[in-house]
């Protein structure tokens, strides 16, 4: 069974690299969205197994997107991992208070990204 992961990030390059990383390393099915709104739509439509969510996005930022996801019944149960370049302690606390499963930092090691996600979510395969 192949996992399906949705990556929501406004940076196209990061979407590509992250997607590439998860596909080549873990062989997962990766969906991408370039904004919070697009991401929510995609999530509703495809119901992925996990969402990798960026924080700093124009329009709906990460936390707002997350709250929206949580409020929608179709997406409320999808585990969300924040992937952010905001690494400061205050930010971290704020993020984890949101209720996301984990906060991961950019830049990431593309070879272990999938591993970390799987470990966090309790996926056995890798």
């Amino acid at each position: 069974m192949s996992r399906r992961v949705l990556i929501i990030d406004d940076e196209e390059d990061i979407r590509e690299v992250a997607a590439l990383s998860l596909e080549t390393v873990a062989g997962w099915d990766v969906l991408v969205a370039g904004s919070g709104a697009a991401g929510i739509a995609k999530a509703r439509e495809n119901h992925p197994d996990a969402i990798l969510l960026d924080v700093m996005m124009p329009g709906m930022d990460g936390p707002t997107t997350f709250r929206e996801l949580r409020s929608l019944p179709e997406t409320a149960d999808i585990p969300v991992i924040l992937l952010t370049a905001k690494v400061q302690a205050a930010d971290q606390k704020r993020f984890s208070d949101l209720g996301v499963v984990k906060v991961m930092f950019k830049p990431f090691d593309p070879l272990v990204l999938a591993q970390e996600i799987a470990a966090t979510l309790g996926w056995q395969e890798i």
Binding site: K86, V87, P107, D109
Partner: protein, 880 residues
Amino acid sequence: MIALAFSLVGALILAHYGSPSDQSHPWIFCFAAFWTVALALLVAIAISSFRAALRERQGERQLERVARLHRSILDSAGPMMIACDLGGHINLFNPAAERMLGYRTHEAVGKLTAADLFPESEMARVGEQLAAAMPAFRVHHPEVPPSTAQVLLPYVRYVATFPASRVRGFEMRFRRRDGSTFPAMVYLSAVRSSAGAVEGLVTIAVDLSATRRAEHALRESEERYRDLFENSAEMIATLSPRGRYLYVNPAWQALFGMDSPQFESLIGFESPFPPEVQAEAAALFHKALHGVRVEHHPLRLRNSSGENVEIEASLSCRREETGPVSVRCIFRDVTQQNRRERRLRIQLIVSQIIAETTSMDEGLTRVLEALCGTFSCEFAALWTVDETQHSIRPRICWAVKGRSSEDFLHETEGLVLSRGQGLPGLVWSLGKPCWVDDLRQHPTFNRRAGARLNGFISGWAVPVRVGNQVIATVECFSRHFVREDPDLMATVETVCGSVGQFMARAGQEARVRQLDRQKAVILNSVADGIVGVDSSNRIAFVNPAAARMLDCSESELIGCRVHELLHPPLAGCDSTCLTRRAFQTSEGASGQDVYFRGNGKNFPVEFSLMPMVEDGEPVGSVLSFRDISQRYALDHMKDEFISTVSHELRTPLTSIRGALGLLSAGLLGEVSEKATSLLRIAVANSDRLVRLINDILDLERMTSGRAPLAFRRISLDDLVRQAVEAMQPMADSEEVYLASDSNSVFIEADADRLLQVLTNLLSNAIKFSPPRSTVRVATVRTSDGVTVSVIDEGRGVPADKLETIFDRFQQVDASDSRQKGGTGLGLAICRTIVQQHGGRIWAEQNGSRGAVFHFFLPERASLSPLAEEATQSQFEQKLG
């Protein structure tokens, strides 16, 4: 009588019978006639014998009366009455003699002799005196009976020589029965026989002792009075109502330089006085003569030596019913007393002036006025010394109203004198007072013209000193000729001492006021808030900036308890509040805090609290603070910026790292060896770049104080173990062994940060250690904290780099940790963290091989100035 009766009968019968009837009987008639004659003779005889008897009786009665009188006289007489015979035997001794001599009459009469009544040789002595008093030719008077006792001879001769009325009394000492003696005045007279020969002596003696005593007392009394007058310092004279001198005591004589006879030759009371006071003296005499008591009238004279004396004159008149009898004058020399009074008065006046006036010029003017008033001068000036200009110039001038002093004033005001020049200059250079008898004639007095025009004759000047230095000169001028008066100048010099102090004090006060003003200006214009707090932590002083920032008026703030004001209840601070703690202990503190304004809004501050200690006792503190809302906002912006920059840098790096990583792993197609190598380099450097961004961010936040340390009690042991665990993979890959000792030490620290330090040091140690060497962590507890050491056996650090390696971006040498992927900031971060814990970090060489990195942490965290205790959230909470 009977005979008479018979005769009468016979005569009658005869007469009856003798009637002429006839002539016959003529013999009867003859008989009758003869009988009548006989009768008549008888009667005559009877009458005469009767008369004789009567006279006899009268004589007896007389004698009796005389005897009684004699007795009374003797008994009642005050004087002694003693009589003796020529042999000296006492035959009369009256009661007075009994009293005075102590013998009873019966013991004296017939028993004592005259000699017994006198002391030995007294009779002889007085006898000689009497003998000497007698005229020469009478010495051998034949009248002296031969039976006279030897001792009585001179006395008998004496009374015999002179008639009773001419005998003078003389003094003799009597001796009483008990042997005591006393003087008496003796009146001697002779007891004469009917023939006139001396039969004895009678002595009437009057006790002179009382008289003597009275005389003595009177003489004594007279002596005393005389002595008083003669030796009195007061000058006493008595004059007749006509003004002639009756008596002058020595003091009076000395005053005028004349003796008694000279006074007696004068014709008026005022005569001896100097011409200028004569009229006044004469007037006083007249007043006294007419019954007015002149008391303490002041007079000024020149005495016989030419000195000025001040006198208090008192005159009064002695009157009897007949009119004035004499005029008494008493003069008291009050010159010294007056001088003392003047001195005291002027000192008192000047002290009062100095105490009362606040303005120096006003005070000095009043002092000049007082000097003139006291010493009868009419112009005064105070000249001040200007040391820098080496000149002295007039500062204050004062002239009495009335006569014009314009010319003199004008001349004075225009002058600037140098040391030694002119009267003020002379006094300045000599440092001593100076007197000018006659200004008009004095050769070097440069204001002669003005003096002449305005009538100033005499003048003097006195230095005003502070310590040893002359700072001013006071000069006074009089319109009278006044001779040099050293006492006056001494008095004024003393007074000028006070004036000098006054001037010095006024100068000091002016400086103090100036400093006060400067201080006020500074405090008022400074932008920081400054609050002075007293020892009971109440606000004692607030500057305008503080009042503004706290949004209260200064008066509202004074007296408030400082902590309650800055952190009101709504601030919700507890016992951990740094500010509260700082005020409670007398320790200094500084850092950042949040204060509350009067309107309840809060604002961030940077503060500094400095305790004030006087003689080891805390007396309060000074708090200065500044509103850093701007800066905070700025810092906030900077934080935001850094955060943003960090984010912005990381974002492209994510792509780079991701792409490189995938490529490098060969997951996207086969890569040549060289390409692999290059990719590995690219990946490594991307990682390094990320670490660099992290470190810069970290260091920046820590050093700016925006990264608060969260202190809690942690086990160092646990921390070391954690660090070792975290570094184990790295150590394993380098084949380096990690060792640590276990030491149960607890400290107050920020665990995460400390972990960062440990991992950093371990990472360095591992990097620089050769394979199969050991990196050791040692913990040593000291009295006030703990020292942790990381010991490696690697390349070590050269001695000259031991300090500098903790600086940013420092490299030891060409092949340094940066080649091994370090950022160059690790040790700088370690140092910042350790310092923020109040500790120290340093490096040493590990003997011949390797390095040792130590850091010391105090057991209780003491804050460095820029550390905050409150957690970031607490801080931000306060800011609402």
